[in-house]
Symmetry: C2
Subunit: 136 residues, 2 copies
Amino acid sequence: MTNENLELKKAGLKVTLPRVKILNILESSDTRHMSAEDVYKSLLESGDDVGLATVYRVLTQFESAGLVLRHNFEGGHAVFELNNDDHHDHMVCTETGEVIEFCDPVIEKRQKEIAAEHGYEIVDHSLILYVKPKKS
Amino acid sequence: MTNENLELKKAGLKVTLPRVKILNILESSDTRHMSAEDVYKSLLESGDDVGLATVYRVLTQFESAGLVLRHNFEGGHAVFELNNDDHHDHMVCTETGEVIEFCDPVIEKRQKEIAAEHGYEIVDHSLILYVKPKKS
DNA sequence: CTAATTGCAAAAGCTTTGCAGCGCA
DNA sequence: TGCGCTGCAAAGCTTTTGCAATTAG
């Protein structure tokens, strides 16, 4: 049994064609961050006839199962990426749209401390830097 | 001339009733962070007949003018707050919806450094901590 | 007076949902 | 076979836009 199928089973999801195909696209795409529309178009290009509604449903199920992460960058639509369990934040280039991942222990630590100072603990967090190439 | 009117003039916007009223609501509301819908409902409650479309248009103009800031917290709708020129980030309580503002120099500094390490400079950033009350 | 602004309704864009039919276990 | 899944179309939500009427300067 393939790796994808195992992941689906573990998530308690039936191994269906649309789910396997969507998982494949997320795994093989060279852009790690895709919108539902991106995934949908990618399916169409591969000649696979999957409805957009199904793409949304499957991505939402994957998110609940912890297989993918959903981000709300600016621009009105959500983007999804495979969850590799290596937490990171994002830097989005405002000129090229390029997305760079990073993780900074100093920031992570301060976040926890700040929440604690206010009597809270962190459930989740979202840090996005909107950047542009530096003139050197 | 009132303070609000001056702010509008400075922003190059005609001093119209809807604009003054919306600015007033933002200034006098006890919840600093309001959605367009919140502002709209608040207007209706005051007996002011302003269209929702106008609320959106005015808030967008205010944002362009630097009078307000727009944030995309989770939940599918944007929230607006008056821009006091004191930069801060946000902590949103997932249980009560309460919004707490904070600013941490250590994090701010690291953000700039990280962007620079990748050859970028920061245009804008968004840091939101989703938190819950800590069991003590 | 004239250009900017508004209100209404319609449209747009992303996402979700109802339902009948299809497919995996 | 049976329940879950899919596709389609329709609806939902927030936000934007076209246009005629109104208003500020």
